[in-house]
C-alpha cells in the first residue's frame, strides 16, 4: 500500500465508527458515569445539584426487594422462554420445509404475521383473551368443565401468560432464520443417507440438526439477549403486576428512570442488566467454541 491511499480505509469505516461512537459508545459511557451520581429531575435542570455518590446506587439496588423480584422474574422468563422459542421455531420451520406449495407459503406468512404486528394491538386483543371473567380462553376452559384460569391475575400464572404471548410473537423471525438454514443444507447429504438406508429420524438427528448448529447459535444468542431485556409485554399487558409478579429488569429500569425520574438509580440498574447480558453471551461463545473443538 502506498502513502496516498493510507487514509482510504479510515474514510471507509469512518462514518460507521462515528455513528457507533455517538449513538452507542457515548451513551453507554454517560450512563456508566451517571450510575455513580444521584442525578434526578432537579439535577437535570441544574447540574450543580448532581452529587457523586460512589456505589450508593448499587448498594441500594442490592437491598431493593423489587429489584430482586425483577431479577428473579427475568430469569424465569429467560429459562422458560428461550428454549421454548428455539424448540417451537425449529419445529415450525421443519414442518414448513416439508413441502413448498401454495398452502405452505400461506402458513409461512401466517406464522410470521405476529412478529410484525404492533405490540399494542396484540396487547389489547390478548388482554381480552386472557380476561379472567369474560375472556375467550376461560370461556373455552369453562365449557370443557374446568375451573377458570387466573391468566393475568396470579403472579406466577401471569408470567407464564406473558411467556406464551412472547413465544407466539417470537416464533416468526426465528422460523425464518431456520428455514433459510434448512434450505442451504446440501441435498447430497440426504441422498447419501438414503443410500445407506437411514430413516427419517436418523436423518433429522445426524444431518439436519448438526447442519443447523450455526443457525441455532445465532438464534440462541439473539433470543437470549432479547429475553433478558423483556419489556414490551409486561409494560403494555400488566404494568408489572399482579404483586410485581411480571416486573422484569427492563421494566424496573424504565419505571425508575422515566416514571420516578431517578436517573442515577436506573442507570445503575441498567449497568447490572448490561453485565448480565455480557456474561450470558460470553458463556455461549465459549460453549460454542469448545463444542467446535
Amino acid at each position: 500500500m502506498n502513502h496516498k491511499n493510507a487514509l482510504t480505509p479510515w474514510l471507509f469505516i469512518g462514518p460507521a465508527v462515528l455513528l457507533l461512537i455517538m449513538f452507542s459508545l457515548l451513551p453507554i459511557l454517560v450512563s456508566l458515569l451517571i450510575s455513580f451520581t444521584d442525578i434526578d429531575l432537579i439535577g437535570l435542570g441544574n447540574w450543580d445539584m448532581v452529587e457523586f455518590v460512589a456505589f450508593e446506587n448499587f448498594i441500594a439496588l442490592f437491598q431493593d426487594p423489587l429489584f430482586h423480584r425483577s431479577i428473579f422474574n427475568t430469569l424465569v422468563y429467560v429459562s422458560i422462554g428461550v428454549p421454548l422459542v428455539i424448540i417451537c421455531s425449529l419445529s415450525v420451520a421443519l414442518m414448513l420445509n416439508y413441502m413448498s406449495n401454495k398452502l405452505f407459503s400461506f402458513f409461512r406468512v401466517l406464522f410470521y404475521v405476529p412478529s410484525i404486528t404492533n405490540i399494542v394491538a396484540i396487547a389489547v386483543v390478548w388482554g381480552f383473551l386472557y380476561n379472567m371473567d369474560v375472556g375467550l380462553f376461560n370461556f373455552i376452559i369453562n365449557s370443557l368443565g374446568l375451573q377458570n384460569v387466573p391468566w393475568l391475575e396470579h403472579p406466577f400464572m401471569a408470567k407464564i401468560s406473558l411467556i406464551i404471548l412472547a413465544v407466539w410473537k417470537g416464533i416468526g423471525i426465528n422460523m425464518l432464520i431456520y428455514l433459510a438454514a434448512l434450505q442451504s443444507i446440501p441435498r447430497s447429504f440426504y441422498e447419501a443417507a438414503d443410500i445407506d438406508g437411514a430413516n427419517k429420524f436418523q436423518k433429522l438427528r445426524y444431518i439436519t440438526i448438526p447442519s443447523l448448529s450455526y443457525a441455532t447459535f445465532f438464534v440462541t444468542v439473539t433470543t437470549l439477549i432479547g429475553w433478558l431485556q423483556f419489556f414490551e409485554e409486561p409494560f403494555v399487558m400488566t404494568g408489572g403486576g399482579p404483586l410485581d409478579g411480571t416486573m422484569s429488569m427492563a421494566l424496573f429500569i424504565y419505571e425508575r428512570g422515566f416514571q420516578y425520574n431517578e436517573f442515577g438509580y436506573a442507570a445503575a440498574a441498567s449497568l447490572i442488566l448490561f453485565i448480565f447480558i455480557i456474561v450470558a453471551t460470553l458463556i455461549q461463545f465459549t460453549f460454542n467454541k469448545s463444542k467446535e473443538n
Binding site: 429531575l41 437535570l44 435542570g45 399482579p242 410485581d244 416514571q259
Partner: protein, 422 residues
C-alpha cells in the same frame, strides 16, 4: 394526570406524536394585525402554549378571541397527548427549550417546580389579579404552592363523585344514595349478595387517589412536618382497613373483569366513583340505562371528602415573554372565559364565581360536582408523593391479594415512606 393515564395508556403508546397545531386562524388574524399596526408599534409577539390531550385540540381555535383582543400577541398552541406530556416536559426542562405557557397537571407541580421549570408568580402578584385569587377553589389553589412560591394559576378542576344505579338501589329499598361509610358498606353488602359475579361497589386498584381519599374522609390530614408519622395516625390506619374490607368481603371485584362502563350498564357493578368525564362516557356508551343512574357526593366518615385534580397554567422559567404569558393566563382565568371553556370542553371551571352561570346551575349532575369540589382535598405537593402513593398501592395489593397482615404491612410502608422522605 394520573386519572386518565391507565385508561389511555394502551392506546397512547401507539400514538404518533401528533403535534397538531391549532392555528388555522392565521388568515383572519393577519388581516386584523395589519389594520392596527399604527397603534401597536408593529411588533407581534408569538406566544407558544403547550396544552395536553383534548384540551390541546380545543384550545387552538379557542384562543382566537384572545388574539382579537390583543393585536400584538399571536398564540401558537401545541397539542401534546397526555402520554407524551411527561416526556415532553422532561425534555423541556433538560434542554431549557420550552414553551412560554404550559398546561400542568396538578399532580406534577412538585416534581417540575422542584426542578426549576416554572416562573415563580408571587413576584407578579400585585400586577395580576388572578394570581393567588381566593375565588378559585381552595383545593385547586393549594396545589399551586410549592416551597413558599406560586407556580401556576388554576385552569380547570375535576373531582370524584359517587355514580350509582338508582333503579337497582331502589329495588333493594334504598331511595337515597348512601351518605356515609356505614351505609356505603351496608348497601354494598346487600348488592354484592345478589349472586355470583355481582358486586356492590368498584375500586380501581391502580388508582393512587382512592386510599388517600378514604383517609381524608376519615378526618386524616397530611402534615408535612410529621413526615412518615402521618401514616401511623389511627385515622389513616382505619381508612386503610375500610379499603381492605371491600376486598376481604368480596364487595368489589378483585380481578380485572369487564370495563366499568359495561359493569355499570349490566348492573354487576352498580356503584363506582369517577370524575366528570365519566358522565358523557356513560351517556354515550350506555344509553339504555339513561335515567336509571345518578351521581352523589362521595360518602365519607367524618366528612364527604374527595380528591381535587385538574390542571393549572404555568409560565416556563426560561420564557422571554413573561408579561404576554401572564396576560394570556389572566384571560383564560376570567370567569367569562372559564364558562366559555366549560361549554367548549365540558371541563369544570376552577373559579367559583363561574359556577353562578345558569347552565352550570341548572344541570343537577354538575351541581353535585360543584358541592363535591368544596369538600375536595388536594394531594400533598411533595416531590416524593408519587413514589409514596405507589408504595401504598403496592402494600394494599399485598394485603388484599397477597394475604399480608394489614398492620404489619402498613408498618413496612411507613418505614418505606420514612426512607423516601429522608
Amino acid at each position: 394526570m394520573k386519572f386518565k393515564k391507565g385508561l389511555s395508556m394502551a392506546a397512547g403508546v401507539s400514538l404518533i406524536v401528533a403535534a397538531g397545531c391549532g392555528n388555522d386562524n392565521n388568515a383572519a388574524d393577519g388581516g386584523n394585525g395589519e389594520e392596527n399596526n399604527g397603534g401597536n408599534n408593529g411588533e407581534t409577539t408569538t406566544l407558544s402554549v403547550w396544552a395536553m390531550g383534548e384540551e390541546g385540540n380545543a384550545l387552538g381555535s379557542f384562543v382566537e378571541s384572545f388574539e382579537n383582543e390583543h393585536e400584538n400577541i399571536e398564540v401558537n398552541v401545541q397539542a401534546i397527548p397526555w402520554d407524551n406530556a411527561h416526556d415532553s416536559l422532561l425534555t423541556a426542562v433538560a434542554s431549557g427549550d420550552g414553551p412560554d405557557v404550559l398546561q400542568l397537571g396538578t399532580t406534577w407541580v412538585a416534581e417540575f417546580a422542584g426542578a426549576g421549570a416554572f416562573l415563580d408568580l408571587s413576584d407578579y402578584e400585585d400586577d395580576y389579579d388572578m394570581i393567588n385569587n381566593d375565588d378559585f377553589f381552595e383545593g385547586a389553589l393549594d396545589t399551586t404552592y410549592y416551597n413558599d412560591a406560586i407556580y401556576g394559576v388554576p385552569w380547570y378542576v375535576d373531582t370524584r363523585v359517587l355514580f350509582y344505579r338508582t333503579d337497582i338501589l331502589e329495588e333493594h329499598g334504598y331511595e337515597e344514595p348512601p351518605q356515609n361509610w356505614e351505609e356505603m358498606l351496608e348497601v354494598s353488602r346487600e348488592l354484592a349478595d345478589r349472586g355470583d359475579g355481582m358486586f356492590g361497589f368498584d375500586i380501581d386498584q391502580n388508582d393512587q387517589l382512592v386510599p388517600p381519599i378514604f383517609a381524608w374522609q376519615n378526618g386524616w390530614e397530611f402534615n408535612e412536618e410529621e413526615a412518615e408519622e402521618n401514616f401511623a395516625d389511627p385515622a389513616f390506619r382505619e381508612a386503610m382497613d375500610y379499603y381492605h374490607t371491600y376486598f376481604a368481603e368480596g364487595l368489589v371485584q378483585e380481578t380485572e373483569g369487564v370495563p366499568i362502563e359495561q359493569g355499570f350498564e349490566e348492573g354487576s357493578k352498580p356503584m363506582f366513583t369517577s370524575g366528570p368525564w365519566m358522565i358523557n362516557i356513560i351517556r354515550n356508551e350506555a344509553p339504555d340505562i339513561d335515567g336509571d343512574w345518578d351521581v352523589a357526593m362521595f360518602p365519607g366518615n367524618e366528612r364527604n371528602a374527595s380528591a381535587i385534580g385538574g390542571s393549572h397554567l404555568s409560565v416556563f422559567a426560561k420564557t422571554e415573554n413573561p408579561e404576554e404569558a401572564l396576560e394570556f393566563i389572566s384571560y383564560m382565568s376570567e370567569p367569562e372565559t372559564q364558562i366559555e371553556w366549560f361549554k367548549e370542553t365540558n371541563t369544570l371551571p376552577a373559579r367559583q364565581s363561574a359556577w353562578d352561570d345558569e347552565e352550570l346551575q341548572q344541570d343537577e349532575k354538575l351541581a353535585v360536582f360543584g358541592d363535591q369540589l368544596e369538600e375536595a382535598v388536594a394531594p400533598p405537593v411533595l416531590s416524593q408523593w408519587e413514589n409514596i402513593a405507589q408504595d401504598l398501592l403496592s402494600s394494599l395489593e399485598r394485603i388484599n391479594r397477597g394475604g399480608a397482615d394489614l398492620d404489619e404491612e402498613l408498618d413496612n410502608f411507613q418505614q418505606q415512606a420514612a426512607n423516601r422522605l429522608d
